[in-house]
């Protein structure tokens, strides 16, 4: 097998400076292809060379295989929580997820976002902003339950210490330097 350090003797590699006065190159009319014998050591090579063996050719195939589709109209799942729906598909779907319904300030923002279609940037940008608000709400919820979130543990500091001590020390040093600089600048301004 070739690696990036090796150069194919058939390729036209040379110092490529991009100047217009370079000599004309001969490019192959037929690309170089390895023979089947050269590829024989690769287990399974060509097993799906015939497109008939490829399960997604053609891309759209009907009727579908391998599934037991429900006959008739799908039963409607009862709506037990608030579900936000896309303006590009009016109505509720027969099946939907019910976890983490919208609530709080982030919920209000999400309701606002769903006034616009998916085609409108406001929809997505408000959702992203709501996600950030939701993170702060999450910390508030933890504290309200008497739980102080162990943010460093949640970020995997144990694994970082175990597998990347140097990186952790570097990050801590950069963090301390940034914090120190900020404190210094603030004190200087106070004076």
């Amino acid at each position: 097998m070739q690696t990036h350090e090796q150069v194919d003797e058939h390729s036209h590699q040379h110092h490529h400076s991009g100047h217009a006065d370079e000599h004309q190159q001969d490019y192959p009319m037929v690309p170089q292809r390895p023979s089947r014998e050269q590829l024989a050591h690769i287990k399974g090579w060509g097993a799906d060379l015939d497109r008939k063996n490829r399960p997604a050719v053609p891309m759209e195939r009907t009727p579908p295989r391998f599934i037991h589709a429900h006959e008739g109209k799908l039963p409607q799942q009862p709506e037990t929580v608030e579900i936000l729906t896309s303006t590009e598909r009016p109505g509720i779907t027969p099946i939907f997820g019910t976890v983490q319904p919208p609530k709080g300030l982030s919920g209000m923002m999400r309701r606002l976002a769903f006034r616009w279609s998916e085609n409108d940037m406001r929809h997505w940008l408000i959702l992203l902003a709501a996600d950030r608000v939701n993170v702060v709400e999450g910390i508030g919820e933890d504290l309200a339950k008497g739980k102080v979130p162990n943010v460093l543990a949640e970020m995997g500091i144990k694994a970082e210490w175990e597998h990347n001590k140097a990186g952790l020390v570097k990050k801590a040093a950069i963090g301390a330097a940034v914090l120190g600089a900020a404190v210094y600048l603030m004190r200087r301004r106070e004076r």
Binding site: H4, P63, H70, R132
Partner: protein, 394 residues
């Protein structure tokens, strides 16, 4: 039950939350026995997917045992060992009737830009995922497949996403005999795309990444050529140089919006979120493929927009194919490949971690520590039924 709990970008933990319940007559409740962290979970973990709510449980790669079924379920029974495709689909809508199971119209009320996916934000339907002890599995007659007795759990869990996605990535490249295929990304999907490219008769398979241990693994496991993009001056020029200055016949994006390799893209796509992820790899694909060539995209991007050189797509006459993998349609053929020894997905598993240690598992996978390629999470109740069965023998 114990479940992964998203608290914000780069913050997850294992927490107790209520067990899922049957909410629709077509539902099943599955006790999870294996679940993986997928590369696309990192887009959620990094806070890049809109409408990712605090408290959400990720996980769209899982297998398990059926614990309960709704009144309409006919094809599954309690105790069945099942693998659950990551797409949540009805089987009945126009798209499912055309085997586009990743594009179902009946399972995601919150967006039409994406189908429903387990544990993948409310943009993908708002379903909790499988990084938990139990999970609600809607349309249980349609999605899950009973795992054949001769298929190992570790292979089965990798059949729920990574193997079909890698395979479909190659399939969408429409590879012909002898084609040169360049795969961007030496993660699990890229590795399976490389293996699948050989199945489809590729002549050369070149995998590009920056992580040396992953490239070493790709070279050894997928028998391919490798390029570390940090060691080349210009990616497109390098691929042209490797291909007689023609370009690759097929380029495959197995990275998505978390791509490194361009300061401007990283700044605008990953840090400022001014576009739906870094489009570095889309650039590389479009500019490295030959005129008239094919670009296949399975890397995940957000729903807003990306800055890509569309003029080059037009002027080079490229064909671009992309989709979430339609997992269910691939399973019978992929099981044949495993049985024949042509594919062994479980080889890529490097880490097995108890669900309780999910914070560290995510950090290791995200930061590519400890030579991590694929992480399998084991929930505390994973072996419960086996223990019951064993005791029943006495």
């Amino acid at each position: 039950m114990l479940a992964m709990n998203y608290r914000g970008p780069y913050r997850v933990r294992a927490d107790h939350k209520p067990d899922p319940v049957i909410e629709h007559p077509g539902d099943a409740i599955v006790r999870v026995t294996r679940t993986c962290i997928c590369g696309s979970d990192l887009h959620l973990y990094h806070g890049m997917v809109p409408d990712t709510r605090v408290g959400h449980t990720f996980g769209h790669e899982f297998i398990g045992v059926v614990e309960d079924v709704g009144s309409d379920v006919r094809n599954l029974k309690v105790g069945d060992r099942v693998m659950v495709p990551f797409n949540l689909f009805c089987g009945s809508c126009f798209f499912c009737q055309h085997e586009l199971y990743g594009n179902c119209h009946n399972t995601n009320p919150e967006a039409t830009a994406v189908g429903a996916i387990y544990g993948y934000s409310h943009t993908a339907g708002g379903y909790d995922g499988g990084q938990a002890e139990y999970v609600r599995v809607p349309m249980a007659d349609v999605g899950p497949m009973v795992i054949p007795d001769d298929i190992h759990d570790d292979d089965a869990v990798l059949l729920t996403d990574v193997t079909p996605t890698g395979y479909q990535a190659a399939e969408m490249g429409d590879i012909s005999e002898g084609d040169t295929v360049v795969i961007f990304g030496a993660g699990p999907i890229g590795l399976l795309a490389a293996k699948s490219s050989w199945l489809m008769g590729a002549g050369r398979v070149i995998v590009v990444d920056e992580v040396e241990y992953r490239l070493e693994f790709a070279k050894r496991w997928a028998q391919c050529e490798v390029v570390n993009f940090r060691e080349v001056n210009d990616m497109a020029e390098h691929i042209k140089k490797m291909t007689d200055w023609m370009g690759a016949d097929v380029c495959i994006d197995c990275v998505g919006g978390d791509a490194a390799g361009s300061i401007a893209q990283t700044l605008t796509g990953r840090l400022m979120k001014a576009q739906a992820g870094s489009s570095t790899v889309l650039h590389w694909c479009i500019n490295s493929v030959r005129k008239g060539g094919n670009v296949s995209i399975v890397g995940v991007y957000g729903p807003t927009f990306n800055m890509v050189p569309m003029g080059n797509v037009l002027n080079k006459g490229l064909t671009i194919r992309a989709n979430q993998a339609s997992v269910k349609r691939h399973l019978p053929r992929l099981i044949e490949h495993i049985r024949e020894g042509r594919l062994s997905p479980k080889d890529i598993i490097t880490h097995r971690v108890p669900l309780e240690e999910i914070s560290d598992a995510y950090h290791i996978f995200s930061s590519k520590l400890d030579n991590c390629i694929k992480t399998v999470l084991i929930p505390p109740r994973a072996h419960e039924v086996r223990a019951v069965k064993a005791s029943a023998l006495h």
